[in-house]
Symmetry: C2
Subunit: 441 residues, 2 copies
């Protein structure tokens, strides 16, 4: 093989970044590969819209099918986004024996199992480094660099939009709505921010990381997902008083039995490495049983960081093509992964630490009633803040707990919210604090 030829479908922000890297550094890339890497064709339905990079007209087409049907194209890069159209496109490319590179986390989270099975059958590879944390090579790390480890846990800041919003809320004491508007102005949030702010995007990425970490089928629906849109500045302040920052964390944990898999706003100690990850940055903090704790952090989105990952995938597949090797590594790190289902705990079985904010209508005796109910449910209090400030006619009582089971917490909060002296609903968040162990008593 004298060259490797690439076709791109989707000439938007990331597509533009990929085109730019492929075209402005042919020497670097062919030096890496040993043979030229050729951009053969770029398809997009809209070729009128202005772009940051220009291409000769003969490389452009409005017809995706042209890329799929071009026998010279070895690698198809799917960058159209969305789910159903992308699925059809990727399956069609695989059917034609083409290798696929995609940055599409929703596609992999929902249809990865089907796509990877089709790729195995056709003997081609599907690469998706850009689908999680943009340019951070976390998929490479899980699939190869940490391949000797049993992964114990992953804590990830996997969504830059929410991390930016939380950073602004925390620094400026602004509301979610204000910080979201600012994020939209800055280009960090989309017009419809639902996928980001409700935690769905982070959950897509967590599903991918889990499949790689545990060598198992993708299981996106098993992940418990809560977003940040109901977070109040008050809770960020109280969290800070307890020494915590609030982050939207994607969490998975493997104690050898059922897995934990959850995305929700989380209190973490302000000196935790993840607490210092600000603005639009992403980070993955993981623990392997051999490597110990490991942090990777960088820009999780943007044209060039994402294109950096896409082009590294293209190079990886191109190396195989050059050597006449259709398929070197299975997408999830082992061929057995697709046949392996790892069950996830229902949220009620999760044991962790909690932050509660009760709204006390009437102070005398409230704390004893609340703590009585918590005690009945085996929930032990680690710290309490009771302050005079009134919020909507009630006085907040804020506490953090030792380790408790989610089912017990939900039962206790239902009982407490039924007390006449408390204004429901009680606000609660989960805490990740390695120093806040289970109750001593």
């Amino acid at each position: 093989m004298n060259s490797v030829q690439v076709g791109i479908i989707g000439f938007g922000t990331v597509g533009g970044g990929v085109v730019r890297l492929l075209r402005d550094r042919p020497d670097l890339l062919s030096r890496r590969l040993g043979i030229p890497l050729v951009l053969k064709q770029v398809a997009d339905l809209d070729l009128i819209r202005p772009r940051s990079v220009t291409l000769p007209p003969e490389l452009l087409t409005t017809c995706n099918q042209e890329v799929l049907d071009d026998p010279d194209i070895d690698i198809v890069v799917e960058l159209i986004g969305g789910v159903e159209a992308a699925r059809n496109l990727v399956l069609a490319a695989i059917e034609r024996g083409k290798h696929v590179v995609t940055a599409n986390k929703a596609l992999i989270a929902w249809h990865g199992n089907e796509i990877f099975a089709a790729a195995a059958q056709q003997g081609v590879e599907v690469a998706f480094e850009a689908s999680v944390c943009g340019g951070i090579p976390i998929i490479l790390a899980l699939r190869q660099g940490l391949a000797a480890n049993r992964l114990r846990e992953i804590l990830g800041i996997l969504n830059g939009t929410t991390n930016y919003i939380l950073s602004r809320m925390s620094q400026e004491n602004s509301t979610f709505a204000q910080a979201l508007a600012e994020a939209q102005t800055q280009g960090y949030a989309e017009a419809d921010p639902t996928l980001d702010v409700e935690g769905i995007d982070a959950a897509h990425k967590l599903a991918i990381l889990m499949a790689l970490a545990y060598g198992a089928r993708l299981d996106f629906p098993a992940i418990h997902v809560e977003g940040i849109s109901r977070l109040e500045p008050l809770d960020l302040q109280f969290a800070r008083e307890f020494g915590y920052a609030v982050k939207l964390l994607a969490i998975t944990r493997n104690d050898g039995n059922k897995l934990e898999a959850r995305v929700h706003p989380t209190l973490i100690p302000r000196d935790h490495m993840l607490a210092t990850i600000g603005g639009p940055f992403n980070a993955v903090y993981l623990t392997g049983d051999a490597v110990g704790p490991l942090l990777l952090s960088g820009q999780g989105a943007g044209a060039l960081p994402t294109a950096s990952a896409v082009v590294s995938d293209i190079l990886d597949l191109a190396h195989n093509l050059k050597l006449g090797l259709p398929r070197r590594l299975p997408p999830l790190g082992s061929e057995a992964a697709l046949a392996t289902h790892r069950p996830v705990k229902p949220m009620t079985e999760v044991v962790t630490n909690y932050y509660f904010r009760f709204a006390a209508k009437d102070r005398p005796g409230v704390l004893s009633q609340i703590s009585g109910i918590l005690g009945q449910h085996n929930i032990s209090i680690a710290a309490v803040i009771q302050k005079g400030r009134e919020v909507k006619g009630a006085v907040p009582i804020v506490m953090i707990t030792h380790e408790a089971q989610e089912a017990a917490v939900q039962q206790a909060l239902r009982a407490i919210d039924a007390l006449p002296v408390v204004s429901p609903p009680t606000v609660f968040y989960r805490i990740e604090d390695p120093h806040l162990h289970a109750a001593q008593i």
Copy 2:
């Protein structure tokens, strides 16, 4: 190929870790690889010494040659350390057509070019992920994950011993000697700590990262190296007053012309991601022109973190062997790297910010004399601390500068040290502070 067989030479700390991983998780590894990974033989001159892991006697030998000559062994893992004996061993393994995995940074820094050339000639691979930052997959990231980038700079905390010592000096206001003794007690420093504390180990690793980052021959002798053994607690205190932490940084920078390559104690802003890397941890902070800034941090040493990297290398080579592919990726990421020399700036050409501590014997007029000489050499002062505390009969005047050229700094300090009002030698350190730009005037 039905299995891949591994021979280990060197059954010390890391060797024990590798043996443990290969033996306590055969299922995980063969699931990854698709075929069994077999530990065929372990050689060490001393088989008497107690070890944390035991092996059946038939797997052990005191004769390295047995491993080299065993035709069943596909991959030889070199873990004896040192330079000359390791070089002979690795070259002998390559000559016999075996793939090699090594954790030996000194070996690669000094003899990597020769070893990689021999491997290219024999069509085998030499993998060395464990040689830099233990289990952190930084070599994988540079060789593959960031392959589409032009690397702009790398700032690394590449040596855990010195980072531990600096953390202790900073937290406890202790001297270098006290902190070193503590590091030795804790097992973080060796009896002869020279390679670590004088920065040589970090420079070995920087040489390796540079070759990968720039796709060029290894050039260890071109790196400027200063260690931490002369650091005084006083300078850590003054640094803190200016808002800086002191770290032993390995620095390389590529502005398109000559490279920078230096290891020395460095002041970095206390809110820089690298400033928060404490104790025995390692970290690499790099900037690629596409990916932007990226941080990887984890345990840089220790039996299991290092073994994690060794076994990931073994798996990578084993995948190639399984597919009948003798050599997939050249060690430095491109076959052209060994033929490429990238010249390094002499230290005198480096432009950066500086910290000076002058010992003023006589206060009135000293500052004006010092600043006059600095001005003559185009060195502009960004901040000054002048305090009453006497140190050995002199009063410290501490300043940080805007950007200046090292040659000018050295000339100016020679002139200042010749002043009758100053006790030589003036202490100076370099600063990495993106916010401290060149002088405005």
